[in-house]
Symmetry: D2
Subunit: 364 residues, 4 copies
């Protein structure tokens, strides 16, 4: 397969470029009977949408999700759901001068080498514009998780540059997270983030970020042995988000310096005494909170000139024009939530298929 | 699928438990005409094998790989290759006292909850014993890469606890790496690692590690847009190794604190000026060195008593008996190399299928 | 997966119901650099379109295919291609009286039992309307086959009821086939088909048909051993067309009465002396003409009252209103051609991935 | 994928050649808690085994199935099950003279063209020997079906040459079927089959056959819309059996001559009044008996000399030596049963994954 699908049973397939007529997604495997309307998508689409807060790009797409199939009289029918998001604000002209130049840090070079042809308008298929459909699909996944299992997914910005948010993972304030410009969880860092990003912007530069995503009330037993451990599939889903360069589960890279006596989460009648595992043992959920951290690189779309080459291997200078985020990590919050939700529902279905089939054989 | 396969086109499917009669793998999609003998597996199987150096467990399996199909008169035929590794040193008795207890940090609890039944002997399917077959399959993948593209994969231990190796990724000494007890690349840390592990062992504890894996001479253009970016598939493959809690590509979590002007790798006629991208842009290889770091947790199999529960949710104390690695990261080196090789060959084939089909349409 | 995708590498995923806003398809794996415009779809879409000849249903959709992605400046880019066909002539009213009744011979009963909810307007997802997208995707597949390999696919109606066309598979007149009302290959049967269908229509009944599909200039070596033999994948693709009840390759059911000495196709320097194999040996193409026959049942949408039950398991009588084909087999011709084309391209890519990878190892 | 796997969730992957050391299968997705022992395989392995009755080849392999994983203390654990069948009676010498000649009607020519290398001993991977593993996997599938749903699968020989068995599909005598030399259902034809096959054998020729397979007590709702209709997947599974040239569901090719008023199965409170559909509507099971017919060609391994070419494209004569079935259709009975069972369990799991997930949404 050519990489445009994710999930085995709850499966999203996408198409669409940054500056084509529309983005399209087909979501296959959605259970029947779930109430779904086009309004359900607004909240998350707005969180991902450029121009909503001050520090994200100002392309002002409406990003309205249209349902083209799979829903009848307000409920899912169990057949494939087609989602469409039109590109209404494309401004192709902004990009025409880079048709032959390879922007450093972008996929221009690699797409050209791979395919021998490239839609150079705004990155084409490699643009983060594509993630709009992921967020839409994630809305449906979150609905399934919440309605059936009470599972809740919460993402937030936990670090920008060297400024780190403080937080207690058991007491996250979702309302605060979704109402501040940085989708962060810590009131104390809002001003510092603001100052940093103003500075970065003034310097025409950009900065990296760390996003933390947790899932609470996760059913026990999700994940498949060996290759499709749920942490492996989470890593795949997260590393597949534009700009992500690292993924941690639970203690993550801190584990390198830990002792076994410190890392292993002891178990009591009341549950686990710690969560270095991040809610996953042997690749299977324990029912503890799932904890994921991802590193997002600073966008390469900056207005500081840089050296590169063009199609003819001639050295040229390049400056990215147009409006761009100084910190793409902020908009990644709903995307990362969506990806985690897609993985969880897929694994719910995979677990269900095998282990609930012969319920009489074992009491679960 | 139940997670026992990896790869779309170059596809490994495995079976087998720690204490069953044998481990089995079927490798599908191997190109025909490659010379292959059972001796080809010895070097890598030895690197993974417990008991080869002083700090890995002393189970002394022979770990001889048998080829049951797909090779005729010394060459691959293009049909599926079955690999078999017998379990000759199982000592089931060591494990019988943990049949009902859930070892903290292990998959005992989650397998029981998922399946309602569990092969408790040495972790059964969740044991790292299973990775023997991955290493065997990796040997074939590395052969394809080396013979056709000159691609070389090198893994080494870059950190144990808080002791960090120093290295120049462009001048790694493979002979040294494979001849020291820690598969590390830095002569200076060998003694420090040795001291640390003696200490850890004396304290009946364990310690985490970081493993670094690089691939040189990688063809440009490997990786699929959107979900199956090659970094996403590498993250999946690496996080699917037992004990791995984090994966980084290129600058990894350092990207969080980087500026765009620092992170983006500028391009000249002579090539890229830096490698924060880790050889991957937009999920597609640039032909630069691929750079991956993984975090391995300290094994939970330690001889320090710990609190846990049993099947009846009663609190009990547990001490892991038997012989175990104080640092499982060391043995992960050939496994991580194998996983990277499997991903690369799979993507070579995926790229080939689509982009070499109509060669006349574009000059590559 | 929920059955809405076909192909491993050249992969079509579809969505859309008979009376929803649109049909959508995402075609993944299309090689880059192929010229493609929306006009390319007209010829085949017209052949499938109801109302084009006298004996197919008179819904007059325009069936214009819109390309939403994957094509840039008139050429495919290698990224996923989204195709959209709007439903412009839905007339939902025709169907509202069957919301609770299960039409015999239709999928009403099974969809209700499977999903507990059903889009009853015109069959919803089970309607043959869905095949419009398959035909569109088939156009792209045929283009790849023709341009690269000279492979040509020809389908025709070879039997309606007990009236059989005569033909010489090596001398089919494509112009005649595509210009007569029945897409048949035999001038002699046109009048007989016409008479039969007038009679059937007058009696408010319907009749079955046989469609024959051949592929010429097929590359040797397509098909994978054991489960995904190309004949197995052709059978899957053909049996997945609405109303198909049987599939034959080569001599088909005639093989039951043949002797081995008669069936085996002897080989000379000039090639095979016969084609009982239908161009496939051991599931792999020989380069001879591929020969497929399919049986299409008479549509159950007839105006003769019939017994059935409703949702409450009460016995009721039902008469299908609306406009329907007396012989659905006729419209199946371009659909069957499309399915064969999709299978062939997928197998070209699969073969390419494995066997062309290491070209230096064997001269092909 | 290279065709060595079948099923999405209940997935069999196989390896092994006719004259290699062993056949291997990995069956993934088996539910946990099912009792399974190596003795369970004997009955079906014996039915497939050559030499059991007078008219099948006399290679006397023991065909004992070994379980290498996935079963613990007599029960399946939910992890992948590896099955091994050794090749104990290979007699490679019989085949050495055909190393360079392409036997007409066999896969010799196509394997050589596809891979450029070929295990010529007894057909290698293309040999029907491979089906031994399918039969073994089918035993597990049938067990799941029977124990959980009471589903029973029955196959029998319904025609050899032009001699047709008579039968009533609702009153098949399984004991008789499995105790006569031809696995046929009709006492009246046994002697005729016997005479015919003696004659064929004396003439050193072979003959085709038709096999009929039915499934009773099938749950309603199995099958996925559009491409993976259960009839499409059955067609794929059946056409993937060596020597099969045609597949029919329900009325099959008879549908071509039927009227809609005759074909559609009317429904009453007591159920369907006929079964032209073969238990499947819109690709989804109705709970009626599933009815499948397959055509098996006469084997090309006959002792009548035939014309062919060798590797150098020189014309040569060939005579198949060794022991071969005059009618391979007979041994296909347990294989066809196994394939149907594998498809049904896979679809049970697929249906379960999606439609039982949110049971509260609809009452099923």
């Amino acid at each position: 397969m050519s990489g445009n699908s994710i999930g085995q049973l709850f499966r999203l397939t996408t198409a669409g470029e940054s500056h084509g007529p529309a983005l399209v997604g087909i979501l296959d495997g959605v259970p029947p009977g779930i109430e779904l309307s086009e309004d359900d998508f607004i909240f998350d689409m707005d969180r991902r949408k450029p121009g909503v807060n001050r520090f994200t790009t100002q392309r002002s797409e409406d990003d309205r999700v249209k349902i083209l199939s799979g829903v009848f009289e307000g409920k899912t029918t169990g057949t494939s759901i087609a989602l469409l998001v039109e590109n209404t604000d494309q401004r192709s002209k902004d990009y025409s001068d880079i048709a032959d130049k390879y922007r450093p840090g972008h996929a221009d070079f690699t797409y050209d080498k791979k395919y021998g042809i490239r839609d150079y308008r705004g990155g084409g298929r490699s643009s983060a514009r594509e993630t709009a459909i992921r967020v839409a699909a994630g809305v449906i996944a979150k609905k399934v998780l919440k309605e059936k299992y009470g599972t809740e997914i919460t993402g937030f910005v936990s670090q920008i540059g060297d400024i780190k948010a403080n937080y207690d993972l058991n007491h996250l304030d979702k309302d605060f997270i979704n109402s501040n410009d940085f989708y962060t969880c810590d009131k104390e860092v809002v001003e510092k983030f603001d100052e940093l990003l103003r500075k970065i912007k003034k310097e025409h530069d950009s900065i990296g970020a760390k996003v933390t995503i947790v899932a609470d009330n996760v059913p026990v037993g999700l994940g498949e042995p060996v290759f499709d451990r749920i942490d492996a599939d989470i890593a795949h889903a997260m590393m597949g988000i534009n700009a992500v360069k690292g993924v941690e589960i639970g203690a993550g890279f801190k584990s390198v310096e830990q002792r076994g006596s410190e890392h292993r989460d002891l178990i009591t009648k009341q549950g686990f005494l710690s969560n270095n595992a991040g809610g996953i043992l042997g690749g299977i959920t324990t029912s503890q909170q799932i904890l994921v951290n991802i590193a997002l690189k600073p966008t390469s779309s900056i207005q500081i000139p840089g050296r590169t080459i063009n199609k003819n291997y001639e050295e040229v200078e390049i400056v990215t024009k147009g409006r761009h985020d100084p910190c793409v990590g902020i908009r990644a919050v709903p995307i990362a939530e969506a990806m985690l939700a897609l993985v969880l529902v897929d694994h719910l279905m995979r677990d269900h298929a095998q282990n609930r089939l012969l319920a009489k054989y074992h009491s679960h």
